[in-house]
Symmetry: C2
C-alpha cells in the first residue's frame, strides 16, 4: 500500500506526546548556523499545543523567546495550559534538553473565533505573480533550501557592501515551501521567521545575528485558511531601528487573494 | 522633613518583594472598566522584574498575555528568572489572586546592551508641538484621567457613528502623564497600551473590548532614556485587520528629539 510521504516540514516539527512533557528532535533539514531555524522551533512549539488533547480553538497570538541555541538531537517540551476561559486558552511551552536549562520559552493564546464585524484597513501590497519571478538561489543554510523565495523588492545582495550609506531594509517577496505544502498555522508560524535579517539588507553583508523574541498574530482561523487553500504567501518586512546590538523587524504574510493571514514582529541581536 | 510624594503611577505599580513570590495591589487611579488598565498591569509586571535582585540589564522585549481580569485588591506575582546568559536574561511572571488561577502571564527579555552600529530607518512622524494642542477631555475611565492626550490626528469622536463606512483607524498624539513624570521603561510599557482601541476609531463608537496579548520592544536602554530626559512621547498607532472578534494594533512611541523609544503590537478582543 502506498502511503503519502510526509513533508519535511512536518517531519522537522514533529512532536510526540506525554502528559505535560512532550518530545521533539532537531532536523538537519531546517538547520541554521548554530541551531535549528527559529521558525521551525516556533512551529514545533505551536504544534505541541495544537496537538495537545486539551487544545480548543485556533492559535491567535504566539510569542517565542529564544533563550539559548537548541543542540542537535532530542529535546523536551513542557506544555502547560495556564488558563482556559469560555472561548480562549492561554498556554506556555518551555523547551529544554537533557533535563537542563531552558532553551526556548513561549506563550500562546488560542481562541474559538466567532463571527463578527470584519474590516481590513491594510491593503495588500502590489506584487508581480509568483510564476514570473526567478527563485532566489540556494544559500548555505539548510533551512533556506526548504523554501522557495521569490523577491519583488529587496532581493538580497550581501556582497555589494561598499561600507557607505545604509541601504533599504524593506523586502517584499513570495514565500512557499520548496516542496509545495498547503499553508496552515504551522507554516505561517515558521514563515513569520523566514525573512532574512534586516541588518543583512541594511549593511549588505552578513553579520552574526540571532532572533531573541518573536511574536506572531494570526488573523484567520483554520476554517478561513481551509477556504483560502493556498501554498504560498506574499510577505513583506521592514525594520525601524538598529541600536546597541539589537534591531527590530515587522512583517506581514498575505494570501494571494489579498487577505492578511498573519502579522509578526521580532527583536534580533546583531554583532556589527 | 518634606519627602517628595510619589507619583500615582508609581503607587499604582508598586510591588513588594518575596523570593519568587511578589505582591501587588490594584489601583483605583488606574482602573479601566472591568479591571485594572492593562498598561498599569504590564508596568507592574515589568517593575517586579526590574526590582528583582537578580535583574541584570534593561528591558528589551516584554509580552503580556491577559488571561482574566484582575479583581480589585491584592494580587501575587510569581517572578521567575528562566535563563540567564552572559548579557541577556529571560524572565516569566504570572499574576494570580487568592492562590487561584492565573490572571496575567508575561515573559520578558532583559539585555545589557553594548555599543554597536546604530541606524534608524524609521523617520519621526511630523507633529505640531504639544503646547499648541488642546488636551483631550476626560472620559469616564479612571486611568484615562492619569494621562494627558493631545491628538494630532485621529482625535476620538465616538458619538458620530453613522453606521456607514469604517473610518480611519490611525491616531497620532502626544502622551504625557497628567502629573508630569520622567519617561522610563515603566511608563513606556504602560503608554504602549494607552492607545484607545482601534475599533473605537474604525466604528466611531465604543464597543466591549479587551487586550488579549501585548508585546513591546524597547529600543533604548536606561542610559539612553536618562539622556533623553523627557516627560512625553509622540505616539502613533494603526490597525491592519478586524475579523472574527479580534483586531490588531501596531504602535510607536517617539521621543520629542526624534528617537524611536519603543514599538508595540497587540491583539484585542472585540464584540461587534
Amino acid at each position: 500500500m502506498l502511503t503519502k510521504p510526509s513533508h519535511l516540514f512536518d517531519e522537522a516539527t514533529r512532536v510526540t506526546a506525554g502528559d505535560s512533557r512532550w518530545q521533539g528532535h532537531t532536523s538537519p533539514d531546517y538547520w541554521a548556523f548554530v541551531g535549528p531555524f527559529g521558525g521551525a522551533t516556533a512551529a514545533t512549539v505551536l504544534r505541541a499545543m495544537m496537538e495537545h488533547p486539551a487544545r480548543a480553538g485556533d492559535p491567535l497570538a504566539v510569542t517565542v523567546n529564544y533563550c539559548a541555541p537548541i543542540a542537535e538531537g532530542p529535546f523536551d517540551l513542557d506544555v502547560r495550559l495556564v488558563k482556559a476561559n469560555r472561548s480562549t486558552q492561554h498556554w506556555s511551552v518551555e523547551i529544554s534538553q537533557n533535563g537542563g536549562e531552558v532553551a526556548t520559552l513561549a506563550t500562546a493564546v488560542f481562541a474559538e473565533r466567532r463571527p463578527s464585524w470584519s474590516h481590513q484597513p491594510a491593503k495588500m501590497p502590489d506584487a508581480r505573480p509568483f510564476e514570473e519571478i526567478r527563485r532566489y538561489p540556494e544559500v548555505a543554510a539548510a533551512w533556506v533550501k526548504q523554501y522557495d523565495f521569490r523577491f519583488i523588492e529587496g532581493r538580497p545582495d550581501f556582497r555589494s557592501n561598499t561600507k557607505s550609506e545604509p541601504q533599504s531594509t524593506f523586502s517584499k517577496l513570495w514565500i512557499a515551501d520548496r516542496v509545495p505544502r498547503k499553508i496552515d498555522h504551522l507554516s505561517l508560524m515558521s514563515m513569520s521567521d523566514a525573512f532574512f535579517a534586516r541588518i543583512f539588507h541594511a549593511r549588505r553583508e552578513l553579520v552574526p545575528i540571532g532572533t531573541v523574541s518573536l511574536s506572531t498574530y494570526f488573523h484567520v482561523d483554520a476554517d478561513d485558511l481551509a477556504r483560502e487553500d493556498v501554498s504560498r504567501v506574499l510577505a513583506q518586512a521592514d525594520a525601524k531601528v538598529f541600536h546597541k546590538s539589537f534591531g527590530d523587524q515587522a512583517g506581514e504574510l498575505w494570501s494571494p487573494s489579498g487577505r492578511l493571514l498573519a502579522s509578526t514582529t521580532q527583536i534580533v541581536y546583531f554583532k556589527a
